[in-house]
Symmetry: C2
Subunit: 246 residues, 2 copies
DNA sequence: CGATGTTCGTTTGTTCAACAAGCCAACAAT
DNA sequence: ATTGTTGGCTTGTTGAACAAACGAACATCG
């Protein structure tokens, strides 16, 4: 007969009220919010209740601040929602297969788009990344962060905001997977080598603005990733990250 | 010489401390958190400060509560991170083309996976959705929510958690796009008709466990969506949602 | 016996009043 | 010109308190 009544705490209402102002455009990116005291007066609440609402907005990326300074409206960036999504996937024990399958769809598409939009400055950034990777490899340092950065760079060059948002949390989760892979005795050297060579091929295709080749190389690169994983005897249906590792 | 010192407010430290307990597994899903007073004592802070940290965790989906009751550790669900991501895309003025491109990659993959994993109960759910859509169409009600639910259903059947997380925020954003499309005079009837027929084809392929067909029909279905958009004279490079519409 | 009050301890939601600390700008001092 | 100093504004934090919701145990009444 009756549904459960939803009792909404005041701090949540505060949060929604401000969010509404932002989403309807009455408050735009860059605008300053009133001070906590003013907000408290306007809402007819205590400063503390308002603060709890502000904390929620802040976490949501809709408002930000510069070190203890006044709050202002922000454009949420995909890199901020990614860690939360990554955490969610870890806690749900996402498997390598799941991540790989999605990457098999998204990464080639990103490469294709990137090849069509790439500028000379972008090429430079890609080559810098490649050089840094060669250097790290030669000095026996980890190339994992650079690899993930390379793929994010490719996606950024493509400029598709939805794609960036969709792939970022998944991309971040390859860290533990790559880490495992490169720790395996058989892959210690050949793994990074093959990876760097693949990146080089992709960059070459980009230089020629050859979207077909760029996509093809990216596809092979991702496929190769899985082959390496299988080859090491790892189970693709196991969670990539144990919660213990953080 | 020196970098800017990062002054971290106590409430943020609270949040990180608890998050760490969760991510390292010392606190697992279902576990109850200590009461606010206990936490305040343990951290050596005021209840207020602790509460602000808890609000952040709550928003992050790591902890939850049942109506004013004690907090417990939760498994974040992809449906909770989606609205935030959707907001971010809206504020960044994501275009139809961007959404469509990603969907062109993800939806066929989802259909393929679904066809390989589909159970009889899943088929039933899909057919129920189709029937509800036919009914809504016959009664001249909007089918948009049902359409979005259909695609989410397909993705859920596939069971790839990373895919679900990646596609959900994008899927939600088709609401305004479809809304525009079906409001267009030329599409008022033919639009929904074509859409429903496509869904039927996809379901038929699923029944046969024919992954190739399911993927092919899904691909045509998404491609058709864009054709419809172009056909109405809409600019695919315009933002799909104005902030004013919320 | 079962449905309805009553009471109580626990925990969260909210208020009020206050102080500490960081930031900013203006101004004084060397 | 750089370095103190001052003061006002705003956020971060504290403390004590009360209101409101919940759960459980128990009393009450038909």
């Amino acid at each position: 007969m009756f549904d459960r009544l939803e009792i909404v705490p005041a701090y949540r209402t505060v949060c929604e009220a401000i969010e509404k102002e932002i989403m309807t455009g009455r408050l735009g990116p860059g605008d300053q919010l009133p001070t906590e005291t003013e907000l408290a007066q306007q809402f007819g609440l205590t400063r503390h209740t308002v603060r709890e609402g502000l904390r929620i907005l802040e976490e949501g990326g809709l408002v930000g601040r510069e070190a203890g300074r006044r709050l202002f409206v922000k454009q949420p960036h995909y890199a901020e929602s990614a860690p939360r999504a990554t955490r969610a996937l870890i806690m749900q024990r996402v498997t390598f297969r799941e991540l790989w399958e999605v990457s098999m769809s998204l990464e080639p598409a990103a490469a294709d788009r990137a090849a069509r939009h790439v500028t000379d400055a972008d090429i430079k950034a890609l080559e810098d990344n490649l050089a840094a990777m060669e250097k790290a490899f030669a000095e026996d340092r980890s190339i994992i962060a650079l690899d993930i950065a390379f793929h994010t760079l490719v996606a950024e060059i493509g400029g598709n905001k939805a794609l960036l948002l969709a792939r970022e949390p998944i991309s971040q989760l390859f860290y533990p997977a790559l880490s495992r892979l490169f720790d395996h005795p058989g892959n210690r050297l050949t793994g990074p080598r093959r990876l760097i060579d693949a990146h080089r091929k992709i960059i070459e295709a980009m230089k020629l603005r050859d979207a077909v080749e760029a996509e093809a190389w990216m596809r092979r690169h991702i496929a190769d990733f899985r082959r390496g994983y299988d080859h090491c005897g790892f189970d693709v249906d196991e969670p990539v990250a144990h919660r213990e590792q953080d």
